[in-house]
Symmetry: D2
Subunit: 344 residues, 4 copies
């Protein structure tokens, strides 16, 4: 049994982690911390967990996280880096669902997250938690930076093309992305009220979004060449789900191959990436509450369109973190993640 | 032209008032106050008003409200009573959309609103702003307490029965009420996030709700006998709209009459109360963004069921306030309120 | 392994059955029939099942249902009774999710379902599939009529009171019920378009609803006395979920006891009925996609209010059917039903 | 007074036309036809119109449309062209909200709409009903093809650039468009159920959409050069609203100018096109139920992003048709279209 701690479980990634870990037969949930909710039963905050999770939130000081095998940080940015050294020293492995260990460049981190990076010496060993690319490194990782939700769709949506190289114009990639409102977290903020976000559609972050540098850094690693990405996120009046429409221009080499076959081959053995048959289009509900990501490949002359869906809280956050944990502890990656999407 | 001021126009009743008043040809909008948003253009906060409202919010001190003919308070409870004396003294008439002047009993007010009533001497002259009952008093009123949204549906839903008297068991009235989320106001509070209130249904306030004493006080005035009302409000995952299902038990006298005809007669000349033909059932969208309230009357043996719909922001708040203003200033009550419900 | 067949799996109860059965480790899915979709892969119709269900729909003639241990009918009313005799003769047990075997009185069936009952001789052995009441009979049942969604909430909401007897006025029970749109099934009908049912709330079936006689028949069996029930169903702009607000008047005996304790005791050992702590109110999302039903008990003088939530497709249909199957085959009732509600 | 007839008013463009025309003081509604609903009161089908529209639907034969000044066709494609000759001969002007008179090339029409064009001789006189481009021609037009909803956003979103010429790479234009569900019309079709389209996001028509050739034909007329447009429509879980995100690559000339100023100048006098201040982003609710279209211009290096919103039923259909009618009959274009967007 893997002894698991969660720091900061009062948000949506937290409750999703709890839902998944409570059904994971190799996991023993040891502690879940929240300074503010110290002593409150988890199931009182999230009645959906009544009968499944008996823990109460506890203050970080009392939580004995150092006796865990692994600790998930489902916290605002900045929390994990404050506690990472000590936990690692105690032999605890860390999966951070925030941004502290996603970006290698601390200057970029500081620009986008508005705080100094207090733990730069650990960045070089931090593994980027995308199992489809980094599962070998994850097997030995002590410290993992779990990807953002947008970055997961864009990277897995472009990976086969960029790995191969020479197939697309890497200076003109457009990612028109749409997210359900849960991506904004469980925070009392005006724009996410049902009365504001409901029956409404809008773009945001057009001038710049934190996930943009993360995506570009990772895409460049994959491709080995500079990437220019135009990235526009939008807010959809739904709770869960992310849909990314990616537009790339094929080179002559790209036009000469069957891109659908390229994707089907690359992901043939991936348990959580589903390349749809030609002509089938994805919708977000087909992955609701599951860890699956689905891709449609639509090729038309020099234009290639990739349509990618995932549940932003599952494959886009907590489910991916559990998949990472499985990879870190030598379990089949699908352990505890076999739940089928809820439709309708 | 009526010179109008609005105190506190940054909430949903505020923006609904602005929408209605901007299209009201007898109104000249003089000032709209917000201490916090002083200097901000109204249309920057509510882009729907771009091209329609040129005003900026101004600090209350600078607003020269005393030069208005009438001032609407679209504020939290407690604000109107702090400013009422001074405005009345300056000859300004007041329509308060909050609760300050709804309840005659200050002890009840203090119990439910958690603050002392600082203006008790004005209560006796305050008119309850339900034109279907009080339009003669409104014509001369200086000070109006505009009804709450639930109270409007329950009162107009029961009025014909209670006015007549002896028709129903007044000790067993049940009001199962359902409200869209905008009823909670434009406040950054967790329960009203799309992720919390969306795709979800719940009851609230079962132990007690502020509108309960207001409803009972008014119903008792209408009926002239004690009333026992069970009132359960629910939250519907929609933006606007209120649906009240009222269950009453008919006496022998009540069973002997045609209740539908009673309602049809009572409301025959009311411009904003629509008694549906027998067998037709209302839905909230049939009144969306309009000032209409619709009632279906379903009689079956000793059981009478009233189904009442309104837009909680229009007939349930801002529209009713404009109707009240029209009554106060001798205009046809429908002036500025002829907008047709938006369907779909 | 239980060999399972499904007749008519193209609706929402069908896809929910598939989701649950695909994750049930004691079940082997043998066949799923649809005359219209013969040959179509189930996962092509419901992409959420890609990778989980390999079956194709097959025409009923080819499906060899007689080799199954149990067959679920997720069909329109009337289909199960046409095939029941033959399957039972072949030793196949039947769980009908439609109404064919719910009502004992064929005249009532014919009045409400508009078709003759062609299988009246089997009604006496049909067991009503509510495990909380009939689990002993279910253990040996060959033929089960699975309850409707509304009836489940109303019966479990009133069961402790009615079993005990003498606690409430059985002539004045009001059930104000609210259902998500999936209750209407997967049928292309105008009123259930997003553009019609979305951002809207309405009542329906006020003159009479098919579930009314079913509820009354069962309540009378439980209580052993005549029941008068006023039942008003409403349509909520959400996909899944049912919320029933039940109003009963306590007798003196009823007022003398602690009703909350009565409920807590009655359901202490029920895996799928959760009596909430005093003061906690349920919401539908706390049971979304799970088989749990939650009840709050609010007692105030002679008025008792029960607030009951379930997922109409799970505990209200397919989940209950799986629970019934477990009871029929001697498995723990929770087998395959441990999925935690999806929140948010 | 303009005597107006409507053919086929039972859909969403029909009821939106009725809402707008019932509030238009220069219009006298003469007849509204529906063969299927002959004799049914309009307000029985659309209760939102109770008290505002007294007409009943009448069979086309009885409707005396030839006594109207103008007839709107809010019908499926193919109906207007069957009746156009006769009405024009009777001196009636025609505004077709379907596609019959949008495309000049009948072969393209036949390919996309799957029916022969039976009225090709009228195409040359048909005016494309986009007042921002064609208002002079509209003033004299007898026959108008009202633009589709997507085409309106894309054309007005690109118009200033294309009119000027030389500013963008016309071979690489991407329109990532998102529509509310009402764009699919009031038809009982499975994909548009709340249970299918709700809490869900998807693309459709990626292989080709009827609006694509319409957009390209018009853009090429504006630009005078060939255009290559990639167009991907998506379905948003909301009722009304359209959001188009347009990606264009600026030439050196394009990068040298202030694109925001170009747009602000071009639309300075347009009553229904609102160019937002730099940095402000639009959302669909800011135009809900109004005839306004809003554009944000975001320029970054060689990349220009246009974000365009409208209400698909108003500026995208019925509102635009009324604006066109005003232009045809010499009224101010804003007549009857001053309704303010409903927010929230």
């Amino acid at each position: 049994m893997i002894k698991v701690g969660i720091v900061g479980g009062t948000g949506y990634t937290g409750v999703e982690l709890l839902r998944l870990l409570a059904g994971h037969h190799q996991v023993q949930l040891q502690a879940i911390t929240s300074r503010k909710e110290d002593g409150v039963a988890v199931a009182d905050m999230f009645p959906s967990l009544r009968g499944h999770v008996d823990l109460a939130f506890s203050s970080p000081d009392k939580a004995a996280l150092d006796r865990c095998d692994v600790v998930f940080f489902a916290t605002p940015h900045g929390v994990a880096m404050a506690q990472a050294r000590e936990l690692l020293a105690a032999g605890v492995r860390i999966i951070d669902l925030a941004a502290d260990f996603r970006l290698q460049d601390t200057a970029v981190f500081e620009q986008w997250y508005g705080m100094p990076h207090t733990c730069p010496e650990l960045l070089s060993e931090a593994v980027y938690g995308l199992p489809e690319i980094h599962r070998h490194a994850l097997a030995k990782a002590r410290l993992v930076g779990n990807p953002g939700c947008y970055p997961t769709t864009v990277q897995l949506g472009l990976l086969p093309l960029l790995e191969k190289g020479g197939l697309i114009d890497t200076q003109h990639i457009i990612a028109d992305c749409k997210s359900g409102v849960s991506g904004a977290g469980r925070k009392a903020e005006l724009p996410y009220l049902l009365t504001e976000a409901g029956d409404n559609f809008k773009a945001y972050g057009v001038k710049g979004h934190r996930h943009h540098p993360e995506i570009v850094e990772q895409l460049q690693k994959i491709a080995g060449v500079p990437i220019h990405l135009t990235f526009v996120p939008h807010l959809v009046p739904m709770i869960r789900g992310m849909f990314s429409t990616l537009y790339v221009t094929l080179t002559d080499a790209g036009q000469a191959i069957d891109c659908h076959a390229l994707y089907a081959d690359r992901y043939a053995n991936e348990p959580f990436v589903d390349v749809l048959p030609k002509g089938m289009l994805p919708d977000t509900r087909s992955v609701r509450a599951s860890n699956m990501l689905r891709i449609a490949v639509h090729q038309q002359g020099q234009q290639l369109i990739l349509l990618v869906v995932q549940d932003n809280l599952t494959k886009g956050a907590a489910g991916q973190a559990v998949q990472v944990m499985n990879a870190m502890f030598g379990l089949p990656e699908t352990t505890g993640l076999t739940g089928i999407a809820v439709l309708p």
